[in-house]
């Protein structure tokens, strides 16, 4: 199916049948996860699936059908017939026709650069690594320990009635650690990070240094158990990259999705507070805040050759010197909003889903100060590391985050741990309080950004550097 002519023949059939646009997307996915819980191998799981999704624009409406019952052209044409039937039904409740922004036909291949195939790493090596991490996580008060490594590979081919024919092979891998400790008289303390993933080979896991992270987690939970509650007050926050990666995701990535502007997601995921007339005007943050969507970042979980509209990967500024300037877009949403070209953000989780606007690598751009300089500028504040609970409103304007780790900063020095820290804010107010971004930019990856109906879990990437926020009220739930 990746190589033969059946997809092309079926797409041509749909065009002859009257579709103004048609595409077929064949996808094969495989993954392998090894996990250890409390010292025992909890599971070695191998998953795979494959199937085809076909999409038509017919009478100005979309229709989509997908199946994993692949027995050749005999399945593909009936799939297109189902898609056309759904488009016909959609056209009966239509107040505006879909118009696609122009795109040049594409041909080519994209493949993740991989130095060591993660699927070829001996299982013994993977299990030994996790056992070594588990031994480090076995702190005096450890109650629940988990360590895992995962490998993913996706192969897909997209063919469109406009002449696009592109093939992609994307390889990803990563490691996760989770440690919960408890002690009489104290609430449990948890350190968890399941977001250490990259589009790369096993070399990423080696560079990531799982054992060093395990040592940090082991130290943190024991300190947190003994920590005193923080003091509720407005204070200066210095926030680390993993925490900001999620904050950027939730408070910039989602509200700049242009399908939210069109209210495609309003009944479930919500809308936005960043509307088209606000572009170039709305002050989203302080002048230190620059954010981009960039599907070309090497190693990013949102990196690819072409999106599922067949639009080449590109870079789009979203926030420039604190001013909102751009959207994440697809050919459909660009066409509807009068954006000249698609931002290349049409993505589907697998063969079984309709492509919708998704993040790619949405990042806080680095500043020009060192981490040390940011720290030195804090007389009294808190260093926050890694998010815990988080909750957002339907416009991505009102959020609440709690932290896994909070440490006191006094006179430019990081001191003791405190516990129970959370904060809530309005998005422009929060980013408006940023008075410095460090130059220690690093990339993080999420494997399961949830959006759409039915649910689609998407890989996305986020770069961030330490950043400093002044006069932030905190709440303490110790």
């Amino acid at each position: 199916m990746l190589e033969d002519s059946r997809l092309e023949n079926a797409v041509q059939w749909a065009a002859r049948r009257g579709a103004s646009y048609a595409d077929a997307r064949y996808v094969e996915r495989e993954s392998e996860t090894v996990s250890i819980k409390d010292g025992q191998v909890e599971g070695i799981d191998r998953d795979s699936d494959r199937g085809v999704g076909v999409r038509v624009l017919y009478q100005g409406s979309w229709g989509f059908a997908a199946s994993d019952r692949l027995t050749g052209e005999a399945v593909l044409v009936p799939l297109f017939e189902q898609a056309i039937a759904r488009a016909e039904a959609a056209a009966t409740v239509q107040r505006r026709r879909v118009v696609l922004a122009p795109a040049e036909p594409q041909r080519g291949e994209y493949r993740t650069p991989v130095r060591r195939d993660p699927f070829a790493v001996p299982l013994r090596e993977r299990v030994d690594l996790l056992r070594a991490a588990d031994a480090i996580l076995s702190t005096p008060h450890a109650r629940l320990r988990r360590a895992s490594v995962a490998s993913y590979r996706t192969r897909k081919r997209l063919l469109t009635s406009e002449g696009t024919d592109v093939r992609q092979e994307i390889t990803e891998c990563g490691a996760g650690l989770n440690l919960t400790a408890s002690m009489a008289g104290a609430k449990p303390a948890t350190r968890s990070d399941m977001r250490n993933v990259r589009q790369a080979g096993w070399e990423y896991v080696e560079e990531f240094d799982v054992l060093a992270h395990a040592r940090t987690f082991a130290r943190d939970v024991e300190e947190i158990l003994r920590a005193k509650p923080a003091v509720e007050r407005p204070t200066t926050l210095l926030i680390d990259q993993p925490f900001l990666a999620l904050l950027v995701h939730e408070s910039c990535g989602h509200p700049t999705e242009s399908d939210r502007v069109l209210e495609h997601e309003v009944a479930f995921a919500g809308t936005t507070f960043m509307w088209p007339p606000d572009r170039g005007i709305l002050r989203y943050g302080s002048p230190f805040v620059n954010m981009t969507a960039d599907a070309t970042v090497p190693g990013g979980m949102g990196t690819f050759g072409w999106d599922d509209d067949g639009v080449p990967a590109t870079r789009t500024p979203l926030v420039e010197r604190g001013i909102f300037t751009g959207y994440l877009s697809s050919r459909e949403t660009a066409g509807a909003l009068g954006i000249e070209r698609s931002g290349g953000c049409a993505r589907a989780e697998g063969w079984q889903h309709f492509p919708i606007v998704r993040m790619v690598n949405v990042s806080l751009e680095p500043g020009d100060q060192t981490y040390g300089a940011l720290l030195a500028g804090i007389q009294d504040g808190l260093l926050l590391e890694s998010p815990a609970s988080y909750s957002l409103d339907d416009k991505r304007q009102n959020f609440h985050f709690s932290t896994q780790v909070a440490r006191v900063i006094r006179n430019g020095e990081v001191g003791e741990y405190v516990r129970g820290v959370a904060f809530q804010s309005l998005t422009p107010d929060f980013w408006g309080s940023c008075d410095g971004v460090a130059d220690d930019w690093e990339l993080h990856g999420f494997v399961s950004c949830a959006k759409g109906e039915p649910l689609q879990l998407m890989r996305v990437g986020h770069g961030a550097a330490h950043a400093r926020f002044r006069d932030r009220p905190i709440e303490v739930r110790a």
Binding site: G53, W62, R95, E263, D393, L455
Partner: protein, 453 residues
């Protein structure tokens, strides 16, 4: 649809041919037909046929697991062989509880042929009725009409042979006005004919019309009326933080060391009951264990969690048939068919009993900053109103609510009748909890912030 024979026979043949002494296969097939609309126009209309096959092979208590999406004999054979190969690479798992024993199951009741065969034109027609009514009121509509048809089958080397079909029909409408207001309503059933487009439109239009000139509420404690969708959100937080055997074992649950003690108010009673005729469920879990009704909290007294085979073994008890979908959750049990005891109070009586308080329609993107207390934080949406002297007096900007579910339920004053609902997360599949939940009036709900008006 394949039906029981066509679905179970290849599983049983593959298990017999594998030569494995201990192995099982779980198959979940789904045909998802979903029609989404916004600005009173359908913008997405999709159908997808998916098969998910999960194999486990156990060699001397070491477990290997694989999954695929084909029922072809060669594919099933390959899945089991690869699972066995993975098991052989492992050391024995001392926690392995063994496979489920052969059992008989109740007949599935959440399935209707007519719903399984629903045409796309009928889904579009239901949406058209919502959109026409909303347009006549001067507003615009967005939402979803979905029909899921599923078939589940489990077979294992102990002779388990379980099969159940199910249908889930869902229609929701979010009504929006140019004045910035919004209103929401939905219906959920295993029968598409029980979805009421006119009723949904009417309920959502009424709220949207009221939602104008919003006031920002000062944070503090208020009396409150939670509608059924909002109650489902609180119940979800209880489920994911505290109702599984694993969470109790780990000391993370409000039930840990509390069974038999009073944990909340006496008006709060909660069961997990997949066999309830009003629920959406099948009668067995992915391990092949028959589902049982489990008393979780009764009259405010903690009764205990649900168990899968793993957590039951560690607790020295039997599985209650609550193994979770392995694609979504780990071992430990999952309470996904919650039934909260209701009452007889009408909506007017609930609102009428409030001196000064808040009406909450539903929540958005909730989470738990304090799992041990089942504390939830989240913002309201699509219908938040100020009640004074028993009447809705004006619209409120969305508020952030943060409070322990146990403290909230301790303040129940009145309960309405149950309705079949899902929390926000479960409406698109991020969660998998279905609730029979009542609306309720509580004496105290903690509001910790407000969105802009």
């Amino acid at each position: 649809m394949l039906g029981p024979d066509a679905l179970l026979a290849p599983l049983q043949r593959a298990l017999a041919a594998s030569g494995l002494a201990e192995a099982d296969l779980w198959v979940h097939r789904r045909r998802a037909a979903i029609t989404r609309y916004s600005h009173s126009s359908i913008h997405q209309n999709a159908v997808s046929d998916e098969t998910s096959v999960h194999a486990r092979a156990i060699i001397g208590s070491a477990v290997g697991a694989t999954s695929g999406n084909s029922l072809d004999p060669a594919a099933l054979r390959d899945l089991l062989e690869r699972a066995a190969a993975l098991a052989r690479l492992q050391t024995p798992n001392l926690d392995w509880p063994g496979l489920a024993a052969a059992a008989t199951y109740r007949a599935p009741i959440a399935f209707e042929e007519a719903t399984a065969a629903l045409e796309p034109a009928l889904q579009a027609r239901a949406i058209g009725r919502v959109c026409d009514a909303v347009a006549a009121a001067g507003f615009r509509a967005a939402g979803t009409h979905s029909v899921d048809v599923t078939e589940d089958a489990v077979a294992n080397t102990n002779g388990v042979a379980a099969y159940a079909p199910a249908t889930v029909a869902y229609l929701r409408a979010l009504v929006l006005g140019d004045h910035g207001g919004s209103g929401y309503a939905d219906d959920l059933s295993h029968r598409a004919s029980e979805l009421d487009p006119a009723g949904i439109a009417s309920r959502a239009i009424e709220k949207c019309a009221l939602d104008r000139d919003r006031l920002q509420l000062t944070p503090g404690d208020y009396e409150a009326v939670f509608e059924e969708d909002a109650v489902a959100e609180i119940l979800r937080i209880m489920s994911i933080t505290g109702l599984s055997g694993q969470s109790v074992r780990d000391g993370r649950s409000f039930l840990s060391d509390a069974v038999g003690t009073t944990v909340t108010g006496s008006r709060f009673t909660l069961h997990d009951d997949a066999l309830h005729p009003g629920q959406l469920a099948i009668p067995f879990d992915p391990e092949g264990t028959a589902k049982r009704r489990v008393s979780l909290v009764e009259g405010g007294v903690a009764r205990g969690p649900v168990y899968d085979r793993w957590s039951a073994k560690s607790a020295g008890t039997e599985s209650t048939g609550h193994a979770a979908d392995p694609r979504r959750y780990g071992h430990g049990g999952h309470a996904g068919n919650l039934v909260m005891a209701g009452g007889t109070a009408t909506r007017e009586e609930l609102i009428g009993s409030v001196t000064r308080g808040v009406l909450i329609t539903r929540f958005h993107y909730t989470n738990t900053p304090d799992p041990k207390r089942a504390t939830m934080t989240g913002t309201t949406r699509d219908g938040t109103f100020l009640i004074e002297d028993g009447k809705i007096v004006r619209a409120l900007a969305n508020v952030r609510y943060t409070m322990s579910a146990l403290d909230l339920f301790a303040g129940i004053d009145l309960l309405g009748p149950q309705r079949l609902v899902r929390d926000w997360w479960s409406t698109n599949g991020m969660g998998s909890i279905v609730c029979l939940a009542p609306a309720m009036k509580v004496s105290r709900a903690t509001i910790t912030g407000s969105s802009p008006a």
